[in-house]
């Protein structure tokens, strides 16, 4: 992570969580943890967001909402699964209406464990996501350069 990194904006979507990780994510934005130090602002609009924070597991009802939000976000984007429910379904994994973790629907970049995830862990996750965003951004730049020079090689994969 460099000092001239862009300020990533986050979008928070609450899956079927118990509100625990939810209010901890909000607590990150308040003076005591103050994630705006890293240039992070909570936004309500998916088109403005770089990082999607999902708390809680995915169920049949909100799967489409989640996909909808994710597809609206511009590239490069990162997804953070906050809390045990968002990672594996946790204590609700056996419920009939729960599909499981977020990674069943979206490609998750960072897993933040904890029940409820502590704000320090969430800050850790967001800082890591900023690094990943930067790498994805560089990949995109290299890709577009290659595409100009060797259009037939445009499907070359760059992994981070």
């Amino acid at each position: 992570m460099s000092f001239i990194a862009k300020s990533p904006w986050i979008l928070h979507y609450d899956g079927s969580s118990c509100n625990g990780c939810d209010i901890e994510t909000l607590a990150c934005l308040t003076p005591v943890y103050d994630i705006e130090r890293f240039g992070v602002i909570n936004t309500g609009n998916p088109k403005h967001a770089d990082i999607l924070i999902v708390t809680g597991s995915v169920n049949h009802q909100n799967r489409d909402v989640l996909l909808n939000i994710y597809n609206q976000m511009p590239d490069p984007k990162a997804v953070i699964a906050v809390g045990i429910c968002a990672i594996t379904g946790g204590i609700f994994a056996e419920c009939y209406n729960v599909l499981g973790g977020v990674d069943k629907v979206l490609p998750v970049d960072i897993y933040v464990p904890g029940c409820a995830a502590r704000p320090e862990a969430i800050i850790d996750g967001i800082v890591k996501a900023i690094g990943i965003l930067e790498m994805k951004h560089q990949n995109m730049r290299i890709k577009s350069k290659w595409r100009l020079r060797w259009p037939w090689k445009s499907e070359l994969k760059f992994s981070y």
Binding site: N59, H60, Q61, Y96, N97
Partner: protein, 120 residues
């Protein structure tokens, strides 16, 4: 310890439900909740509906038992707040309730399977 040591439940038939509810409403009772549960009675699945009322911190319970898929009358004309419970019971248990004041017709809860609480 709390007051509600042993619970008293008055078992009624479906026909008596509306008249008893009306008399409770006139006495100044408040509807606390409607709860449905599925029990096995000698090998046959029966749905038990518990109507809980409260007056001066004392609970008054009514229980009716019905078979799966039976029809019962709504009490949302008497207690305006009953419609949320009745819609919930309709969606989760598949009980058809006649004459709910705000009827969602099965769109209140959206679940993966219809009537999940009746499945084993």
């Amino acid at each position: 310890m709390a007051m509600e040591k042993r619970i008293e439940i008055f078992i009624l038939t479906v026909d008596e439900l509306v008249s008893r509810t009306r008399s409770l409403h006139d006495e100044g009772y408040r509807l606390v909740q409607i709860c449905c549960s599925k029990v096995d009675e000698s090998g046959k699945a029966v749905l038990e509906l518990d109507y809980t009322f409260d007056k001066h911190y004392n609970l008054y319970n009514i229980r009716i038992s019905i078979e799966e898929g039976a029809e019962i009358p709504s009490i949302s004309e008497i207690f305006g707040s009953a419609f949320v419970y009745e819609n919930e019971i309709h969606d989760l248990y598949g009980v058809s309730i006649q004459g709910i004041s705000i009827d969602y017709r099965g769109n209140f809860y959206k679940t993966a399977m219809p009537h999940p609480f009746t499945q084993d």
